[in-house]
Subunit: 349 residues, 3 copies
């Protein structure tokens, strides 16, 4: 869906430096754009590509506009403006309304006439699909699922009983929302399954990545706030609450009953223990372990970057004996009486 | 399926303190229960909620019974008793017996008349489905799969050739049991695939979480013991053996040919290397790495809790130079001759 | 498909020590082989099983041939030779050519007459399936997917728009290739989705494990080289490039825009940050974090093996105070003037 630079400037509130009649038909990177392509500059590391770009136009901020050799769309937030222009130029193909003849629809389901249900999908009894909902091929929606308008399940998604998704939320293939939580009571050496009676409630504008799983609550519901973005292969346990606009990268595991605040950013492969509370505006860098609650906004870490394996083995050996090392230092201090500061530290041990 | 307190006391062997005719129709938490709801108290941290609960009755142990302001079902193991009462009050809806017309059933498959096969499921040749087996929508069972009585595949489960599940086992959506193990022989710079000829044999009363994968054996079978509970997103490599009643939390990875004992508890996101042996009654806390065999029961760890990122970066910098730090301490000791203990430690390095 | 030892020796270029007419019908381990079974010896740890094996024949190298009590197939690379013989004796059952009546095929799709499309699979518009391609049950191929000859999708695989797989590549169940990458632009407290316009291009002889996910590129394509082997539950972000013959174990996460070289070996549960470059011939041991680029071939690690939990807690406590420990050592050095080497190290801090 091509557009002119003038139309884009008006629609997205940019200052245009260049020919308003120039037609743009696609987006591309600064390095590869040419002809009728629009690029963007948001991160300083790409600034040197600006000088040589052959794009038709570049979305950038005022500081970089003077260095732009081609037409410029000057925006306060070039990255977000680029994202919106890209969505306009490259719209997702709308699914054709209607229910594929191979789909199976349960009694009492209410499916809006503008909604689409793909081949082989199974819609449970009393499910509700709002306007323009798209259920791709091979999805399974158990009884009582409610999808607000414009929800999109890409393909082969499973939604358990009574799961609710807010407007415009997108679920990538293979995700499972509303499977039973991991709840068992110990009885002798065996485990007794605890019925998982809650469900999962997901807000508006949420994205759930491929093969991510979100378990249903044990008694109350698992809650995912508006605008939350979840990458692939994430595991979210039962009764977890995630605040609005929090973004979580791939392979993260969050154990049951933990609450995460708003606007948090959780890096890839982070593990978060159960029954914790993490406040708003916390960032956790990748490969870190969160095993206690976090009450102050900020950035938290516990990952250790790789070393050459031989060096690392030696470091681990030393680490495993750090207690002895500290005792040796204490003995030296004692032998030489180096003063109060050291003694104070040692008393904490 | 409501029940009276008297009926529950008899059926589950509890001492009842209260009106045996009082009807219970559901379970709820201590804080939210009211009217006809039953709550339970198993962990000390919830004890203060007992005094103000509006539940119809509470399942608890004898020590807490005196503080119960409402009817009490006194049980030796309140958590397990609660789990069983909850299952009675909130039974899983039984699937209707029969094979959905959209399912595809291979030649020679024997499906018990009381079993259920959901829409779009594919049952391979010579598969055997026992009494009351429930195969939900969108499952794929390859040839020769054998499901004992009361097995439940929730939805979109894949079982590879000849996989066997014991009675009452439950598989959550998206799980894949019996895919090829990761077996390749190096040949120059390329890899030659090794046929994976074993299968997966799963005991009775096992639960397999959503999107968990259990690979088939290379020559012999991968074995999962009775009563094992596996959370979501777990990866179990080929030829792994897991002993009865072991519970494994989400995101754990277990490499090929490792044996884990009975009654172990593996925390979330733990990584276990291949060809190891872990004895019975081992607990591993979350986010730990097991790279050697464990021969004594007990609790094992190697996770490090997060710190503020600036502090953590400084700690990592120091850790990477711990070898130098130890050498500096040794020089100090040498210079000051602090005695035999330090020398002995240093000789281990 | 049985074969004689003479046929195997000729076909796979082995020296045969034994009766060329002896028939072999299957493979088995050294310990369990008997009758008409062939075993192999590739790792020294299994050497003591050789003396007592009851196999009909053993594939091994020249150094071990003298100790073989039964017929020997002497090969330069016994493991790879065994893999090829096993594939000959135990061929995968070829799927019957043809499109199952329950499959749904979009307009313009070109499906070779020798290809097989299983029950319930959905083939998008303009997809191309080459000779002998096998699409198992329950797969979803979006529009424009191209599968070269002999590609095998085992079951319930999702391939996004325009994804391409090279000849002989195998995808295990539950894998999702070509879901949207995790691309969002921050706008105030919310996130704006960035259209993911690239696709995924996969080379020849690649294997993709169960429930592994490979995201489509944002602008350019995500690239997986020839002969790459990916285990289960791996997450590969958008625009990642993986060089030929690299093998990656289960549960690994690779963030977006990272490039990994040829012939690398990545251990289980490793986390690799985004926008990095890892050169050819790098090995990373399991449970390590790669957060910076690697420019030299070699083995890299950062995992820490478990300890008893009480010991580990003490070690972590000391580690968290390592900065103080180093300061105490510096004070001791200063007090006693232990010389230049220590001062030089301290200056780096």
């Amino acid at each position: 869906m091509p557009a002119s630079l003038g139309e884009l400037a008006v629609r997205f509130g940019c200052e245009l430096r260049g020919d308003p009649g120039r037609r743009i038909s696609r987006v591309a990177s600064l390095a590869e754009a040419d002809g009728d392509a629009l690029a963007f500059l948001a991160e300083p590391r790409y600034r040197r590509q600006l000088a040589t770009t052959r794009a038709a136009a570049v979305v950038l901020d005022a500081r970089n506009a003077d260095g732009c050799p081609v037409a410029a769309l000057v925006a306060a937030n070039p990255h977000a403006t680029y994202a919106r222009i890209a969505a306009l130029l490259h719209p997702a193909l709308p699914a054709s309304p209607g229910i594929h003849p191979s789909a199976v629809v349960g009694a009492g389901a209410r499916i809006d006439a503008s909604a689409s249900v793909g081949p082989g999908s199974v819609i449970g009894c009393n499910a509700v699909l709002g306007a323009r909902v798209s259920v791709g091929p091979g999805c399974v929606l158990e009884d009582g699922v409610v999808l607000a308008e414009d929800v999109r399940l890409v393909a082969r998604v499973v939604l358990g009983r009574d799961v609710r998704l807010g407007a415009r939320s997108i679920v990538q293939p293979g995700a499972v929302i509303g499977a039973d939580g991991f709840g068992f009571a110990r009885d002798g050496e065996a485990w007794v399954k605890i019925p998982q009676l809650g469900t999962v409630s997901i807000g508006e504008d949420v994205e759930v990545g491929a093969n991510t799983t979100i378990d249903r609550g044990a008694l109350a519901d698992t809650l995912i706030g508006d605008g939350v973005k979840l990458d692939n292969q994430i595991h979210i346990g039962h009764n977890v609450h995630i605040g609005a606009h929090t973004a979580i990268a791939g392979c993260v595991g969050i154990s049951g009953s933990t609450t995460i605040g708003r606007r948090c950013q959780i890096g890839g492969a982070v593990g978060i223990a159960g029954h914790l509370s993490i406040c708003d505006d916390v960032a956790v860098t990748g490969f870190s372990m969160v095993s206690h609650s976090i009450t102050s906004p900020g950035v938290y870490s516990s990952g250790i970057p790789v070393e050459g394996a031989h060096v690392w083995r030696r470091i681990v050996g030393r680490l495993k004996r750090i207690d002895t090392l500290a005792e040796r230092v204490a003995r030296l201090e004692h032998a030489h009486d180096t003063g109060e500061a050291a003694d104070a530290d040692e008393r904490q041990d």
